[in-house]
């Protein structure tokens, strides 16, 4: 009866051993306890003794070979015993060879396995949000094939190679670790063996030996940096003790309306004090209390005399409506970053910056980029402005004036703020010069301060457009599948259609919006 001698584990940590010396040869008779080999382990060189007696029928290892624990080394048998077929088989196989890998079959059809790239340093896994291809589609290198949600954002995953989609290995909504195959590309008429596909499904992040594509081909596609959405930030965190939160929940108190008495975090006592003060969820969502209103300034039926300025305004507005065929475009600007930046700047800087200053500066840059938005219709041509001057509609007493802020295309935000401050001061002092009111190409009119969400302003004759700016409102916005609270601001642009078409104006307005959403660019 043949007996197999396998490499024993000669120590707790031993996983493999190197055969330093073979002390037997085939045909030798060995006794139990005879030293067969000298084996070098991770700890020492040890003598390996025969676990049984018999004649050496076959030695399956050679000197200097390193083999794992448990590998067959020697077959012992009776003196004249012939090895049985299964033993012969193991002899010819020389131990266990790794099974044919999928690699080989993949190579024959030149398949490209596309794996989920690491789309950011901290990304460990991604969720397939959208699959933009289907089987048998042809994709070019750089085509967007998936939308992948990572720990940071939802990103477009580009194809690292071209080819025909042979098999999509993931489904929408599935979350998979980085480096797991997601797609197989191959030649148009290539057939992929099922065994190869099977070998890819459930493959862990370990590199597959199959991989033929050079490393750079599978390198992570770069998400477009310009178009990246602003990183979601959590809305202003309320610090409250766990107990305060619990009590607030029980009593229905809105913690955002509770002040921490210790200045650090809201504690239970603060919540209970707030209850006494009448803050509750029900009231938190109710409309703000009615303001105290003064006596009405006018009586019904009264004739109100026209002021000089109102007369001029009436004429100009009529003129505008008669001569300027307008169309209107509205966008929502995410002003969160702008608000944050303004707060920061105003905490440290000497010049207080108004939201209008951001908008004027953004328009200045916008008109510099799109000068066609400064034009006036002149029968046979359109005359563009000589310089960029932006009107700012303000009330001075009962009067509406729109003094001009120049150089918003050239000067930075701080300088723009200084300029506008000076202009406003002159307006209030009634000291506006002709250069302060002549030659504007656009006016900014803000009614946010009056609680207006959005409105459609009327273009000042002689100008091309006017921008109506609404108030900044905390709004729930879905970002990457999360509901985030963002500060949104409506802007409506009225445009003289004689001068600009919808697309031109839209591109201009969108650019201004993006500048406002990336306010660092305005500095």
């Amino acid at each position: 009866m043949a007996k197999e001698v396998k490499l024993p584990q000669l120590g707790q940590t031993m996983e493999e051993g190197t055969i330093v010396n073979i002390l037997i040869k085939e045909g030798d008779e060995v006794k139990k306890g005879d030293v067969l080999f000298e084996i070098e382990t991770d700890k020492a060189t040890l003598e390996m003794e025969s676990p049984a007696e018999g004649f050496v029928k076959k030695i399956l290892v050679s000197a200097d070979e390193t083999i794992p624990v448990g590998q067959l080394m020697v077959i012992l048998g009776e003196k004249d015993e012939q090895l049985s077929p299964e033993h012969s088989a193991s002899v010819s196989a020389g131990g266990e060879k790794p099974a044919e890998t999928a690699a080989a079959s993949a190579e024959s059809v030149d398949a490209k396995v596309v794996k989920l790239p690491q789309l950011g340093q901290t990304m460990e896994e991604g969720t397939i949000v959208n699959i933009l291809i289907k089987n048998d589609d042809k994709v070019a290198k750089g085509d967007v094939i998936f939308e992948v949600e990572t720990d940071k954002a939802t990103l477009e995953m580009e194809s690292p190679a071209e080819g025909w989609v042979k098999k999509i290995l993931v489904s929408e909504g599935e979350t998979i670790p980085v480096n797991v195959p997601v797609l197989v590309l191959a030649g148009k008429d290539d057939q992929l063996p099922q065994s190869f596909i099977d070998s890819l499904v459930g493959t862990e992040a370990a590199p597959t030996p199959v991989e033929k594509a050079p490393a750079e081909k599978t390198a992570a596609p770069k998400p477009s940096s310009v178009e990246t959405k602003p990183a979601p930030v959590t809305a202003g965190r309320i610090f409250a003790s766990p107990r305060a939160k619990m009590v607030a929940q029980e009593l229905g108190i809105d913690l955002s309306r509770v002040q921490p008495s210790n200045g650090l975090r809201i504690v239970e006592a603060d919540v209970r004090a707030a209850t006494a003060g009448g803050v509750a969820i029900g009231q938190a969502t109710a409309p703000a209390a009615l303001p105290q209103m003064p006596e009405p300034a006018y009586k019904l039926g009264q004739k109100v005399p026209l002021s000089k300025f109102q007369k001029i305004t009436a004429q100009k507005m009529l003129q505008s409506k008669n001569q300027i065929p307008c169309f209107y475009l509205t966008v929502k600007v995410d002003a969160t970053e702008m608000v944050k930046l303004r707060t920061n700047l105003n905490q440290t800087g000497s010049v207080k910056i108004a939201f209008n200053d951001f908008i004027i500066r953004a328009i200045g840059l916008g008109l510099k980029q799109f000068p066609e938005m400064t034009g006036q219709f002149k029968d046979d041509h359109i005359q563009l402005a000589e310089e960029i001057k932006i009107g700012l509609a303000i009330s001075v007493g009962d009067e509406l004036v729109a003094p001009l802020v120049g150089n918003a295309d050239k000067e930075n935000l701080i300088q723009v703020a200084q300029t506008s401050k000076a202009v406003i001061a002159r307006a209030k002092d009634g000291k506006l010069g002709i250069e302060d009111i002549e030659g504007g190409c656009i006016t900014v009119s803000s009614l946010g301060g009056f609680g207006i969400d959005s409105f459609i302003p009327i273009v000042v004759p002689g100008q091309t457009t006017i921008l109506g700016v609404g108030k900044i409102t905390d709004t729930c916005v879905p970002i990457d599948g999360n509901i985030m609270i963002r500060k949104l601001m409506d802007m409506t642009l009225s445009i003289d259609h004689k001068v600009a078409n919808g697309a031109n104006a839209a591109i201009f307005l969108d650019y201004v919006k993006k500048l406002l959403e990336n306010p660092q660019a305005l500095l």
């Binding site: 707790q12 003790s241 107990r243 305060a244 619990m246």
Partner: protein
């Protein structure tokens, strides 16, 4: 009999036939010795093989080559005699199991359970909790087990011998240990203790010449080191003035004769004897040992004296057996081991759901007792307050007179005594010693001196030196012998003068005291108390002032008790002595003179029940030991000066920790301040925090949810406690610090 060495190798070993003729043994005994030796050998060879196949995992200290020592020794002792084993203990366990096997079936079961234990199976002797290095049949074979720490089981064996002597069982203890262990501190502590307190112990040194790779005395291999300048370990018996023998450990007959003589000497005289058996292990220290430290020639020479060959040759020469008989014995042994291997493989794994079983002996107290105790605790506190008030109002010529008058007043009004901490500690021990004969005390200066802090004062007069045992300054042996005595049925109280000295006894306390029950699969219990004192307060610097309870809380299998008042100390100490689990009971050095009211009737305080020493609603102060007094003072100040109503919880027992009481309080107050004298890093306060955070209330919320402020932990500064008084005081929480901490949170 004092020190002398008898070298048995120089004397003629009697013939087996002579032993039979003299009625010392029967022929079957001699044949059975061979069978046992074969069984051990097959067992070890099988284990080596199974380790190689990874069927057995873990350690592999094999006994092959040394079988004659265990076989001869077990044959020489009586049933009921106790053995203590080593990390190379398969032979001891195997041979002693055979001794108690009445039938072939029992013998097979014995080897089955051994093999299953090595495989880590539920059917093993220790349910797979111990494995190779900790295998023992504690119940049936009077085997107090083996340890993985070299020399670790020697103090335990001394304690076992102490128990046999005290209980007058007439039994002796065989303490096996290797040559390597004779250079450890426990060897000296144990031999010295055994020889000075006179216990029936046979110390058997299995000198296999190498401690792992280092020769005990010499090796022919160049570059080999040396562990000793003395070749014969028996010579070390001179240090203890005890008799010793040297015997050929390869010859089972020689071992039998020597151990028989030694055991009889120990039994008759209640004294120890040392027997050095010269032997040799066939395998290396463990699997990964290439045996580079000894020559092939040396190995071959010893192989000629294989215990199997030596005994077989004798049996053949004396015509007590034929070759055929011998082969039959060998085959039978082989079959036993093969069957045991199959049994082990077929056995089930332990159930992970039972992972935490058998760490402790289950302890429970009737709810009525807990409720009654709470009432008496309140009464004791009131009476103590009244006593303190009386001290201030009652007039007298001297302090002593005022005290006596005040005591009388309290006795009158409340019917309780007012006693000092040290008095109640002594009283609690005395009461328990009267109640239970198995309670004994051992330690330094516990006898005539009455304990360094007077906590055993007068006990030796009442209970004698058999029960109040003064020992040498040998902390490991004091604690280790208490473990051994506890396993053998006593309820020892070991006093360590300072808890700082527990560092020297830590191996004994943890590995033997706390772990034995679990590692023996729940088959042992260790009902012992280590009494000690700790804390700062006497300007004696860092070696005498620490609070090491977090170390002890960190040990599964131990209980830790730290009382703050005389009332608590008495009731808790009595409960600790009655507990079937090892308890460390730490008094605070600044409290021994503290006076407090103590009921005249007998009472015990359940372990694991905290005491609310002051009710409050604004903040929860959790503390224990002396800091309880500071916390109570702080609470008073907080109420009087700042209108803050703090609750003070005295944990009393740190393990088990009464987190329920803490959590209930925090639910009320929302604020937690822990106060203790142990180092704040990884300290008891941090642990209380953790437990509270994770605590689940019946409303589904956690302790975290109920917090209204981040908890504060006051503990000892992360510095060695300094000697200088201002520094010493600065290193621990004080009344002012507690007041400030609470105010910062409320």
């Amino acid at each position: 009999m004092g020190f002398k060495i008898e070298d048995m190798r120089k004397k003629a070993t009697p013939k087996i036939a002579t032993l039979i003729k003299d009625g010392v043994i029967k022929k079957e005994d001699a044949l059975d010795w061979l069978r046992t030796i074969h069984e051990i050998r097959f067992f070890e060879e099988k284990v080596f093989d199974l380790l190689g196949q990874n069927i057995i995992k873990g350690a592999s200290h094999l006994y092959a080559g040394e079988e004659a020592v265990a076989t001869g020794a077990m044959a020489a002792i009586e049933k009921g005699d106790v053995i203590g084993s080593t990390h190379r203990g398969h032979g001891h366990c195997g041979a002693v199991g055979n001794k108690y096997a009445q039938t072939e079936e029992e013998r097979q079961t014995h080897w089955n359970r051994m093999m299953a234990e090595l495989m880590g199976k539920e059917t093993g002797y220790c349910k797979g909790r111990g494995g190779s290095m900790h295998i023992a049949d504690v119940d049936k074979c009077h085997n107090i087990g083996s340890t993985g720490i070299v020399g670790g089981n020697q103090p335990t064996a001394v304690g076992a011998a102490l128990a046999e002597k005290y209980k007058k069982t007439g039994k002796v203890v065989l303490s096996f240990f290797g040559d390597g262990s004779t250079n450890t501190g426990t060897f000296h502590e144990s031999m010295n203790m055994a020889s000075t307190i006179d216990v029936p112990l046979v110390a058997i040194v299995e000198n296999n010449l190498y401690g792992m790779s280092v020769p005990f005395f010499a090796s022919e291999v160049k570059g080999a080191g040396r562990a000793s300048n003395v070749e014969d370990i028996a010579q070390r018996a001179a240090a203890y003035d005890v008799p010793a023998m040297i015997v050929d450990g390869q010859d089972v007959v020689a071992v039998f004769i020597a151990i028989r003589e030694a055991a009889e000497y120990a039994r008759k005289n209640n004294k120890m004897m040392m027997v050095e058996a010269k032997c040799y292990r066939w395998y290396g220290h463990s699997r990964s040992d290439p045996r580079a430290y000894r020559t092939k020639e040396e190995e071959a020479k010893w192989r000629e004296k294989d215990p199997i060959t030596v005994l077989s040759d004798k049996l053949l020469a004396e015509k007590l057996a034929t070759e055929e008989d011998l082969r039959a014995i060998r085959d039978k042994a082989e079959k036993t081991i093969e069957d045991s291997t199959q049994f082990g493989i077929d056995s089930a794994w332990p159930d992970p759901a039972e992972l935490a079983n058998d760490v402790y002996v289950e302890e429970s107290y009737p709810q009525s007792l807990i409720e009654a105790e709470k009432k008496s605790a309140v009464k004791a506190l009131e009476a103590t307050d009244a006593f303190e008030a009386a001290l201030k109002t009652i007039e007298g010529k001297s302090k002593k007179e005022i005290t006596e008058k005040s005591k009388a007043k309290i006795k009158d009004e409340y019917g309780v005594n007012v006693l000092m901490m040290k008095e109640v500690i002594a009283e609690a021990q005395a009461e328990e010693m009267r109640r239970d004969k198995n309670v004994i005390i051992e330690g330094e200066d516990v006898g005539l001196y009455g304990g360094a802090y007077g906590a055993t004062k007068g006990l030796v007069d009442e209970f004698g030196t058999d029960r109040v045992i003064d020992t040498a300054i040998s902390e490991a042996a004091i604690v280790g012998s208490a473990v051994g005595a506890a396993i053998r049925g006593l309820r020892p109280i070991a006093e360590l003068m300072y808890v700082d000295f527990i560092t020297i006894a830590m191996d004994q306390l943890m590995h033997n005291g706390a772990f034995n029950r679990y590692m023996f699969g729940g088959h042992a219990k260790v009902p012992m108390v280590v009494r000690s004192e700790g804390g700062v307060g006497r300007c004696i610097a860092a070696h005498h002032s620490k609070s090491l309870e977090p170390w002890l809380m960190n040990i599964p299998g131990l209980y830790v008790v730290m009382p703050s008042t005389p009332y608590d100390a008495k009731g808790l100490l009595k409960a600790a002595i009655r507990s079937d689990n090892p308890v460390v009971f730490i008094e605070h050095k600044a409290t021994y003179g503290q006076m407090g009211a103590v009921p005249t009737d007998e009472y015990i305080i359940p372990l694991g029940v905290a005491d609310i020493k002051r009710q409050g609603k604004d903040a929860t102060i959790v503390t224990y030991s002396r800091q309880t007094m500071f916390a109570l003072q702080a609470a008073k100040e907080l109420a009087e000066k700042y209108g803050i109503d703090a609750e003070v919880i005295d944990l009393r027992t740190l393990k088990p920790l009464d987190i329920d009481t803490v959590a209930r309080s925090v639910r009320k107050t929302g604020r937690l301040i822990t106060v203790c004298e142990s180092f704040v890093m990884c300290g008891s306060g941090a642990e209380i925090n953790r437990r509270l955070f994770e605590y689940k209330y019946e409303d589904g919320r956690t302790g975290f949810d109920y917090l209204d402020a981040a908890p504060l932990n006051l503990g000892a500064a992360d510095v060695p406690p300094p000697m200088s008084e201002p520094l010493e005081l600065a290193s621990i929480p004080s009344v002012e610090k507690i007041v400030a901490a609470v105010r910062s949170l409320v």
